[in-house]
Amino acid sequence: MAVPMLRWVGPGRRCALAWVDRSSRHRREAPTGSTSNGTREQSSVAQQPLRTAQKLRKGEHKWAAVVGLEIHAQISSNSKLFSGSEVCFAAPPNSLVSFFDASLPGTLPVLNRRCVEAAVMTGLALNCHINKKSLFDRKHYFYADLPAGYQITQQRLPIAANGNLMFGVFVGSKRSHMATRTVRVKQIQLEQDSGKSLHDDLRSQTLIDLNRAEGQLRVDANISVHHPGEPLGIRTEVKNLNSIRFLARAIDYEIQRQINELENGGEILNETRSFDCKLGCTVPMRDKEGKQDYRFMPEPNLPPLVLYDTASLPARAQPQQVINIDQIREALPELPSVTRERLVQRYGMLPEHSFMLLNEVGLLQFFQNVMKETRAEPKTVTSWVLNVLLGYLKHQNLAVSESPITPSALAGLLDLLDSKAISSSAAKQVFEELWKGEGKTAVQIVSEKQLGLMQDREALEQLCQSTVEGHPRVVMDIKKGNPRAINKLIGLVRKAALNRADPAMIKALLEKLLA
């Protein structure tokens, strides 16, 4: 789920899209008698079934954890959900506040079309049912960064519901095997973002920025544990998790805390907690003490949001006044699962490789551009892109777009490798030279550094001959029937050829000489 989410959000985006997944329940019995190393790994992608890291003693019950996530993601739009004010990342505080944003009395919300389209698109991408009629509600609470005293959201009838997302996850002791999981999406709702509070404890002040909150992604996790077959446990809500890593750690911690609490005869309170990322634990949130009653009420200033499809589109409708679900569906880009399937089908790629290609922004495009320009096998290209290029990028903390090596340059290199003009170890050297970004082509580097494979068969025969002559003991070994001994000779010949000879050809020549 993290993948598409991250594709939708980015710098400079405002307006909240809450994606609630409260009802998705992942139950998994604890693996009997073993501490599961999988917990970290599994929960590091938040929507996966969670396994309790629980060592069972004889006679003890198994525990199952149930986790639901409420994901708040900002929509990429030029203006806010209900006002015309601009959206801009890192703008000076309160510089992008309309009269509506400041809740001046008499101002009214006006729904942003772009945000509705984004919500429909998200719903379609997550296989949701799109509600042709959805409603807005007011959720009331007093907080300094909520100037109206209520937040406009879609509590009763959201824009999309009942979706699901399939994703892959590495399993097994070496995390080498890719397994597919499904997470259910309860609903997608459009929601107004609150402002941002900056607490100045020193001066006991709170400063408010009504440009609205900064985070592009914020997750609240609802967690409970219970014994399989028994009713669900009391849940706690861990709020405001803003990274996948902290989300995973918070969930792991909270599950374990609840199990410990219950096994020690304690009880779980239905409470709101926060995650202390320094201590790695969850703590009750003090300012949310007491039961909140949000006093939901229909938002009277926004008529029901009505969407159409091509069949239901009124004949007289002005295109700018209606939103056509079918049109958005047609405009939907290829979804990641389809892309991955295509990669597997077309290139015979391993599923995990298709995930890796899509997980990094721009990497798939890079791969496809290399494929367009090279004669090398897809397998070779995949290997070079994922193992070599990605490794270098990660090592230097670079985005794909910042790669000093262009797809064409890599394609040129892989062509040389494919035509056996260079050895793979020479290819690595060429890659390092290319990485320097000096504008040289692979061909230039090969010729300058004399990295080309020895094409002169006679010269290579000569080298083999002298090597055989110079190492009678090794030759003896071979003759005695040690099959590995020939590798030693191959290595020596390669060294003598300054790594520029094709090992396969060396082997053939040696075998001929020794026959």
Binding site: G106, L108, G149, N301
Partner: protein, 543 residues
């Protein structure tokens, strides 16, 4: 307008047909009989003279004079913007006015100066109207007397009219009683008083449960509540968003049509306004009412209805009948549930709408700063009156999770039934409903305040709030003077978005009843040119 050819004749013919007062003033302005500045100064002087009425909270003298000057320039160049150019208007103090304090008659908003104009205000100004000031009301429009605002009660100009004094003399009532002043009704009482006292040509009220129609009835004015969605609410500080509409107060129906023509239509800032383009509201003079079917809802004949109003109501029905219209008794069976339902929905939305007044961004803020919560509590205790706090408290009670189904949802269902009552009646062939606007004529202040705000509101809104729940257009028409010499209004209710038809019928009625113009000669010197006293006795419906 024909600038050179026979303007006198045109003016004469207009007068003869008793067309719009605004049109008449407009003609006078075009002909140069009076300049916008002169008109503005006369109104300002009348505002001064009638200050004791407490109709205005803020008199925007400088703004009005500047607007008058600009208007004068346009008239000089023959570039008048239309019928409203140079016309003095008053606006209820719950409409946001850019640069002019907007208080809602609440401590909470004292000193609040909005940075923008309500759409309706902007539209009036765009037509060249002169903004004379902001008028008094019940705090946040919660009331039906214009007695419950922080700036004190509004006095009904009819308390001091020649007509009332004469009646009292005839009935030989004591002077002390004669000094008893009357309420205007409310909550738009300031606008009604300002207009009845001739300090402006038209006024904006707001109407959530009858707040424009009720004071119009008590002050002898035309009080129009448009269909919900026809006129933008943007900038109107809300009471109940789902029922609020800007209301129009004028002295005659044609004036209402002129103002409505300017105000009506889609506003991109208010998503609940109609998308369809709105045609200008010109009203034909109806001569034949024989194809008209007037419905008389039997549930409106409540026991509390004064006999005088009851009798006037049936006379009005008789007027239509004798002119050939079909008049039938109809039933709106859920009427008795209406006021309770209205109170639940009203309180709930009030609780929500008032949540923004926390002392942080604007308006009143208390001195307490030990914590944000303590600041909220003290600010709201100091800023809101008991009436407002009471509605907030009950509204929050209705919205609690445990009560929501039992109160809010039920009230919404009843609201649907009430709206369907109207739909059913109109679908049965009825064109217009005729009802009383209020239970009685205006009562003296001292009598009015004997009951609490809630009881008074329930009585004051009894015939009017159902219309708001159904979103229908309705107009209170002055029908006759009572035995006390006080105005009595009757209400006409139309189908949703058939505002023009409603006003056309109202205009026919207006013509039949010839309601008299208020007379207080001691105030009127120098103003007769503009707001001419048509010394017509009310005959048709006199008791």
């Amino acid at each position: 307008m024909n600038e050179k050819g026979a303007p006198d004749k045109l003016a004469y013919s207009r007068r003869k047909r008793k067309e719009s007062g605004i049109s008449r003033v407009s003609v006078a302005l075009k002909q140069g009989q009076i300049t916008p500045t002169e008109l503005c100064r006369k109104c300002l002087s009348l505002i001064q003279k009638t200050k004791f009425l407490n109709a205005y909270i803020t008199v925007s003298e400088e703004v009005a004079l500047k607007q008058a000057e600009e208007s004068e320039e346009r008239y000089k160049k023959g570039q008048s913007l239309g019928d409203l150019d140079g016309i003095p208007v008053a606006v209820k103090d719950n409409f946001s006015t850019s640069g002019i304090e907007t208080t809602c008659a609440s401590n909470m908003l004292k000193g609040y100066i909005p940075p923008f104009n309500a759409t309706v205000v902007q539209k009036l100004l765009d037509q060249g109207a002169l903004l004379m000031g902001k008028t008094n009301l019940d705090e946040f429009a919660m009331g039906s007397g214009s007695t419950d605002g922080v700036f004190g009660p509004v006095k009904n100009p009819w308390s001091y009219s020649k007509q009332r004094r004469e009646k009292r003399q005839q009935q030989a009532q004591g002077e002390s009683q004669a000094a008893e002043w009357l309420i205007t009704g409310g909550s738009s009482g300031g606008s009604a008083a300002a207009l009845a006292a001739l300090t402006c040509s038209a006024a904006l009220g707001s109407d959530t449960g009858g707040s424009t129609r009720n004071p119009a009835a008590h002050c002898g004015l035309v009080g129009f509540k448009p269909s919900y969605g026809l006129v933008s609410r943007h900038g109107l500080i809300p009471l109940v968003n789902s029922m609020d509409v800007p209301g129009i107060l004028t002295r005659c129906v044609d004036d209402t049509a002129i103002v409505l023509g300017v105000l009506a239509g889609h506003d991109p800032k208010d998503s609940t306004t109609v998308q369809d383009p709105v045609k200008p509201f010109t009203l034909p003079s109806l001569t034949d009412v024989s194809k008209l079917c007037i419905g008389i809802p039997k549930e409106y004949a409540v026991p509390e209805l004064s006999s005088e109003v009851r009798s006037l109501w049936s006379k009005a029905a008789g007027l239509f009948e004798s002119a050939g219209a079909k008049v039938i008794e109809v039933s709106l069976p859920h009427t008795s549930c209406s006021i309770v339902c209205y109170h639940v929905l009203c309180a709930s939305e009030v609780a929500s709408n008032m949540a923004r007044f926390d002392g942080l961004e604007y308006g009143h803020r208390c001195d307490i700063n030990v914590s944000t919560e303590a600041m909220y509590a003290a600010t709201r205790r100091e800023g809101f009156s008991d009436v407002v706090r009471g509605r907030i408290l009950s509204g929050n009670f209705f919205l609690l999770k445990e009560n929501y189904e039992n109160y809010f949802i039920k009230a919404q269902k009843v609201r649907r039934l009430i709206a369907n009552d109207f739909v059913n009646v109109f679908n049965s062939g009825v064109d217009i409903l005729l009802t009383p606007t209020t239970l009685s004529e205006a009562v003296p202040y001292l009598e009015f305040i004997k009951e609490d705000n809630r009881t008074r509101s329930a009585q004051g809104d009894i015939f009017t709030q159902a219309v708001n729940m159904a979103g229908l257009p309705a107009v209170s028409m002055p029908a006759a003077l009572s035995h006390q010499g006080l105005p009595i209004g009757l209400q006409f209710i139309g189908r949703a978005f058939c505002d023009q038809k409603l006003l056309t019928v109202a205009k026919w009625f207006e013509k039949q009843v010839q309601f008299p113009v208020i007379q207080f000669p001691e105030l009127m010197d120098g103003c007769s040119l503009v707001f001419e006293n048509e010394k017509l006795a009310s005959v048709s419906l006199q008791q």
